[in-house]
Symmetry: C2
Subunit: 206 residues, 2 copies
């Protein structure tokens, strides 16, 4: 059975929702960042990067949200979570998720994880100060150029949707008013009503 | 025909090599960053992010290196550039490329692109100073935990290889001695001898 390592409030939520939407049999294991469990020898044996999510499968361990989301979509094709038979449409899905991973998530990480990229406390504070602007610039692009509606890719719900939902939930904490992005805000509300999303959000709160 | 927008010295090299390895018919168009062409209205119409690479196909435009690499592998299956029939192995390829995109490339970008994440010049300098350490930490992980050899994924050359090659070429400029990573260094030498790689590197120098 698949096992997902996650922490509350992290991007692992996207894969958790995708597993639920796919109808997968899976279990979850919380990695308590507050207790430093992501740096424990036990967890580093699972994921030497010391981050979440990690997905333990019978074939081995996977990391990196875009890779895990595509794996879930391909492993449970009946769930229809990606256009698997069309390399161009599949690449559009992957391009969106790659942007979330390498640009939007990175912009967000400069609020609390600045020590990854500078040692000087003043520099780390300067990074934190810019997060509202850089996150808003990302969501301007998503709202204006990338989001199709009603779902990210248009009429079909895909693995882009739980990932956008996950990162859009960080806006308030990052000092950005979601009301600036009406399509993204409506998407966040719409997806929140899906049974799989309600269940996973409740599970992670428990 | 496929058209690749690239700039010299950027991650677009990975997709350029993959197109050549795939035997694709394609053309290239340089986007001169020194002249600010990535911010021209013409180029922003191609890629509103103002970055390279972009891949113009008959179906539409794709961005984001991991997505483009998977698209090339799926569009030219005879080239055998990814384990397309095995979702787990394919996910391993994608996880490696996602790590390069979202962590290694991002670490590198803090040398010259710090203004993305802070406005204070002193903070931007502090970011630049940390790049040798953060890039070395990434390559420690690649060398010790991720690279299988002789190619990234083992016996088969995949879309991970030109991408690692592309980013490993940045080490010296980032203040890291490649000799610290013997497997990565040998890989860089090995891949440099492939006809497709020699051709593309020469084309980009021209």
């Amino acid at each position: 059975m698949i096992k997902l390592y996650y922490e509350k409030g992290t991007c692992a939520l996207a894969s958790h929702i995708a597993l639920e939407e796919a109808g997968a049999e899976y279990s979850t294991m919380r990695v308590n960042f507050g207790a430093g469990e992501q740096r424990s020898p036990e967890y580093l044996a699972v994921n030497p990067k010391g981050r979440v999510p990690s997905l333990v499968t019978e074939r081995g361990i996977l990391t990196e949200t875009p890779a895990m989301l595509a794996f879930i979509a391909q492993s449970f094709p009946k769930a229809g979570l990606a256009p698997l038979d069309d390399p161009f449409r599949f690449a559009e899905v992957q391009a969106f998720n790659s942007y979330l991973c390498s640009t939007v998530h990175v912009a967000h990480a400069h609020r609390l994880r600045g020590a990854r990229w500078a040692d000087d406390p003043a520099a780390i504070e300067a990074m934190t100060r810019k997060v509202p602007d850089s996150m808003a610039a990302c969501f301007d692009l998503i709202e204006g150029k990338m989001f199709r509606g009603p779902w990210v890719m248009g009429e079909s719900y895909t693995i882009c949707d739980p990932y956008l939902f996950t990162i859009a939930r960080w806006l308030e904490g990052d000092g950005v008013d979601p009301a600036r992005f009406p399509k993204v805000k409506a998407h966040r509300d719409r997806i929140s009503e899906r049974p799989a999303v309600r269940k996973v959000v409740a599970d992670q709160k428990a």
